[in-house]
């Protein structure tokens, strides 16, 4: 079977999430693609479904001192500390160029207080060509004594409501995996008005140099990402899918089209590729190609039919 093409694209891959139409379900993950333009020398950005930018704040941020990363088995820890040029600079310096591509742009936004989020969204509302916002709620809440907003359904719902009140574009809320009750968290955020959920962010981890007895990351703790966390991410997507009606974007250890399909079957409508782009810079475009191939091989009509198609009937014996 020959992959159908329209303007060089496979129309079977088109998806809609939170009212945003992506021509395929493969996005870059926040913090793993800079502001998107870094990929320009490598591939045509219009080939992937979307770019989700590095986390933006109202004001520029310096980030953490190095060392900021440490490789771990099938994964890595990072504590970049959200270094970013600020929402205004993004709009002025990056967005015009990004708009030259036919790719959806989600701006990832974070804050330490509700006001931080609202302030950043106010600025981004002016950015023509932004398609939606993704809220990173895995930051310590300065008001609540360092409690992570994303670990507390009430705080997460409050941020969501506040942002929804001012946001001119769809709002996707990104879940922390460091919680015991995904379903409850997902429902709280859905009730607060989120248009979609994305999950998962990184698991909190530590790595220690046994010679110096020092943490290998200056910030002590870091976020664990990469293939190592994929089973946890797939599980959370499955649990969130069972709990809410709004669409999901699956994230966590996705490196190939096969990995992406796993998340779609678990309940995601689209996926983001993060860490894999570091070691395979073409991972996103390869995944797009691979999804077409998967549809061909399995005779699947459209990628949308995969979402939530997990078969829980008893398997045949013997395997």
């Amino acid at each position: 079977m020959v992959t159908p093409r329209e303007n060089g694209r496979d129309p079977r891959l088109a998806v809609e999430v939170a009212g945003i139409r992506f021509h395929n379900p493969v996005l870059t993950a926040s913090g793993c693609c800079g502001y998107g333009l870094e990929f320009e020398p490598l591939f045509d950005l219009s080939r992937i479904g979307g770019i989700c930018t590095k986390g933006l704040s109202a004001k520029p941020m310096q980030g953490n001192p190095p060392a900021r990363i440490q490789e771990t088995p099938a994964g890595m820890l990072n504590a970049i500390g959200l270094q970013n040029i600020g929402a205004r600079a993004f709009i002025e310096q990056k967005l015009p160029r990004l708009r030259e591509y036919d790719v959806r742009v989600l701006t990832n936004v974070f804050g330490y207080t509700i006001d931080d989020y609202v302030e950043a969204i106010h600025i981004l509302n002016d950015g023509d060509g932004i398609d939606g916002y993704e809220l990173n709620i895995s930051c310590p809440n300065v008001k609540e004594g360092g409690l992570i907003i994303g670990n507390d359904p009430r705080a997460a719902a409050e941020v969501t409501e506040a942002v929804k009140r001012v946001a001119k574009r769809p709002v996707i809320v990104k879940l922390s995996p460091n919680i015991s009750d995904v379903a409850g968290m997902a429902r709280a955020i859905e009730s607060a008005g989120a248009d979609a959920l994305s999950l998962i962010n990184t698991l909190v981890g530590v790595s220690i140099d046994i010679r110096t007895r020092r943490p290998r990351i200056a910030n002590v703790t870091g976020g664990l990402s990469g293939p190592a966390i994929r089973p946890v991410a797939v599980r959370m997507v499955m649990q969130a899918a069972a709990a809410v009606q709004i669409p999901l974007i699956g994230i966590g250890g996705i490196a190939t089209a096969e990995d992406a399909v796993e998340f779609l079957i678990a309940g995601a409508a689209a996926v983001q590729i993060g860490t894999a782009s570091f070691y395979d810079p073409l991972a996103t475009v390869k995944a797009v190609e691979g999804l077409s191939a998967y549809l061909d091989e399995t005779g699947t009509e459209s990628i949308r039919t995969l979402t939530g198609s997990l078969d829980l009937s008893p398997p045949p014996r013997g395997h």
Partner: protein
């Protein structure tokens, strides 16, 4: 920058834990002195991240690297054999400013520490080729830690060797003959190019400043991507040395070569 397939032409051991690999790339690339590549054996499952290596030589579609195995990633690379495949993202990073040497005729003083030397070889080679006054100071812990010393010597410029244990050249740090050299040459006479361990570069920077010599350092940093998307590889820079005034600069894209005075040592 391209993501290319490299086919191993050779991959031989130079000394305990030191290797020299040559790859034929699927496409020709133009490489500037000081640039680097991110490599890993094709389809390697673990470790996942590529490793940064300075491009030691480049001609036509072949590139060479010299590397010291510290852990799992380069260990895996060291096991790769002729004909096998390596993923190569290259060329990455900036290059050494050479105007003061080429245009103003200053002396080029190249200071290599151990496996920092591959990052300086193309520079030395190019400057010698252009007829500049080049001298090399090459320090290592032992005589085994002077990778590609023979290649530097073959360039025809003066090469001074030091080892911490005296097993080759002068015993002691490479900064000792460097300081002698700069003192003799006089103020503002030299441009120093250094790559090596952090404390060595910090000292070189200080010595160069003391003799009003320009100094460029090629830095290392833990890298995940090598092309600016992870923001892991930062180094702290002095206020005002980069615009806008960001405290942290990415070694992979703003570097790896920095003016020594821009760095918070």
């Amino acid at each position: 920058m391209k993501d290319l397939a490299g086919t191993v032409e050779f991959n031989r051991q130079l000394a305990p834990r030191y290797y020299h690999i040559r790859l034929r790339l699927s496409e020709q690339v133009d490489v500037l002195p000081g640039q680097f590549a991110m490599l890993r054996p094709a389809a390697l499952a673990e470790p996942i991240l590529r490793r940064a290596l300075a491009i030691h030589r480049a001609e036509d579609a072949s590139v060479e690297f010299i590397y010291l195995v510290l852990g799992q990633g380069l260990e895996a690379l060291s096991r790769i054999r002729e004909g096998e495949r390596v993923d190569v993202l290259c060329p990455l990073g900036n290059t050494y400013p050479t105007e003061s040497v080429i245009d103003e005729g200053r002396r080029a003083v190249i200071v290599a520490g151990g496996v920092g030397s591959p990052a300086l070889f193309m520079l030395a080679s190019e400057l010698v080729g252009r007829g500049a006054d080049v001298r090399v100071y090459f320090g290592g812990r032992t005589k085994h830690d002077l990778p590609a010393l023979d290649e530097f010597e073959a360039l025809g410029c003066p090469v001074t060797v030091t080892t911490d244990d005296g097993s080759a050249g002068e015993r002691g740090f490479v900064t000792v003959p460097l300081e002698r050299d700069l003192a003799l040459a006089g103020r503002e006479a030299s441009v120093v190019y250094a790559c090596g361990p952090w404390p060595m570069m910090a000292r070189v920077s200080e010595i160069a400043a003391g003799h009003a010599a320009k100094c460029y350092v090629s830095l290392e940093a833990r890298m995940a991507c090598g092309f600016g998307i992870c923001v892991a590889c930062v180094v702290e820079v002095c206020e005002g040395s980069f615009a806008p005034p960001f405290k942290y600069q990415k070694v992979c894209t703003e570097g790896p070569v920095f003016p020594a005075e821009a760095i918070v040592w």
